[in-house]
Symmetry: C2
Subunit: 307 residues, 2 copies
């Protein structure tokens, strides 16, 4: 058995990234990495992913130093997934220059018996069939959050539909929510997703923050305005990892915990974008988290209005 | 003398608008109209603007019923300013089909002695030279907020620069803030505007809400997610009018009042977009305001994190 309370499935990559603030080559990246590192601030996550024989040992050491359970980290002969891209201007959109799937192209998540009863599961943005395979493997009705992207919304809508119907938390960005539901109003889109089954829909809006929609309540949290924002790569995955990490720590999916989980995701994502790769995120400690939770509270607080 | 505590200068128009939710022809619109109607929920505004001899009397009656001081409403032979445009998809951007300046093309705000000492002033988006003319006419150092747009940022940068240096509150959208300061980071852009003189910069982000930047604090408020959003025309002007109305009512430009003024602006703007023209805004009462202030508080509240 494992002590982990959160299983995280997703890509592991080596990224080459350029932004107006510099550039880096073959640095640690990928959904499962950012999400695990974020979650490790609050709980003990286990990571499911695949790397090639070019994956540097120092990255494994970093993950181990974060107490991330690497039992399900698979080593396969070949190249690790590689993404090359850049950001311009306000960095709101990544422009992809090259994608080399490598061993990730044949990724098939393998979850040993010891890890099938982990109570919280984050399904990063991978082929919906793989997300379903993981769901079918799990025991004991875990709390599941899934992310996806326009590629699967357009390419495999039926499979994705099955995923959405089986998760409690659906994570998408605003454009994807509308694409998925063919609605032009975000609230309508969220309602449609809720009608499919999820208890909550979390709409990620990048530098505009995130909004949670449930059947009879909503919560919205702004992104923290930052003077130093060098590289948004991994911010969404950090957000999801921090959110699920907080939920796994608290154990129960109630409104108060859900609200606070979005705060945790927002705080950790704000650190991720301050530097390339995991350079800043990996150094975040309890005090750094507290500082930005306080900042977020101050950023959003107002006294009763004089009416 | 006048009892008004807020002077509002801007366009008055007859709008023809099409959105996925319907269309209207020659309906009441314009910055000064939306801002005055919004402000009238909390204070007594006076409106400065010009209309042609085609301006329907029923609109004047509506403004009078809101106790808006119309002393400075100028009637000029000719046509009232007319804007024709439409919205598609998520309605985040207006597409202009036609603009007929009419009598607004020769607008020169005339402020009688009785209105020169009004303590709060909102300069809507008009030619920066006209904004300066009004500033030069005012007495007793009013609290001034100014709005502008990309047309003036590119077309008359030196004049606009003079305006920015003489106001306490600068209102711009995120793209305009970066265009005005040639920065790509929003926080940097806001800092640069603050360096020019304003005490606060309010960045309007449409459906993503608004963020206030001051020298050593920030505040951000989301837009209320709405199931019924028919027409965003006038939302920004409603926001500005509600904000300045609340400040005029409370009288003092401190952080607590500024925060609450953005809440008021957000609440009123949420009503404006629910219907075309001023159909919904004009019917907003105290209870409707309270409902959405409560909604905004619930939307943004979270308990202390368990860390």
């Amino acid at each position: 058995m494992t002590d982990s309370s959160l299983l995280i499935v997703g890509s592991i990559g080596l990224d080459t990234v350029r932004s107006p603030y510099g550039q880096v080559e073959n640095v640690l990246g990928g959904t499962a990495i950012y999400a695990s590192c974020a979650a490790s601030s609050v709980c003990s996550p286990a990571l499911v992913g695949v790397v090639g024989d070019d994956f540097p040992q120092k990255h494994v050491q970093l993950l181990e130093s974060k107490n991330i359970d690497l039992t399900c980290l698979e080593y396969t002969p070949g190249k690790t997934f590689h993404w090359k891209g850049y950001y311009e201007g306000d960095m709101n959109a990544a422009i992809t220059e090259d994608t080399q799937l490598g061993v990730f192209g044949e990724f098939s998540p393998k979850i040993p018996e010891s890890h099938c009863s982990i109570p919280f599961l984050f399904l990063g943005n991978i082929h919906p069939q793989l997300q379903l395979d993981v769901l079918n493997r799990m025991e004991g009705n875990p709390v599941v959050a899934a992310d996806t992207m326009n590629f699967w919304i357009n390419g495999t809508p039926e499979l994705l539909d099955q995923v959405v119907r089986r998760v409690q938390i659906m994570l998408v960005n605003d454009g994807e929510a509308m694409m998925l539901t063919k609605k032009t109003n975000l609230h309508d889109a969220a309602d449609s997703i809720l009608d499919m089954g999820p208890k909550v829909v979390v709409i990620k809006k990048g530098s505009h923050g995130a909004t949670l929609f449930a059947k009879d309540w909503m919560f919205t949290i702004p992104a923290i305005p930052l003077r130093t924002a060098k590289d948004p790569t991994g911010a969404g995955d950090t957000f999801a990892g921090g959110m699920m990490g907080y939920l796994a720590k608290t154990g129960e999916l109630n409104p108060s915990n859900l609200r606070r989980s979005l705060v945790m995701g927002t705080v950790l994502a704000s650190y991720t974008v301050e530097d390339f790769s995991l350079n800043r995120l990996a150094a975040v400690d309890r005090e750094a988290i507290r500082d930005r939770v306080d900042l977020l509270r101050d950023l959003t607080s107002f006294e009763p209005l004089d009416l």
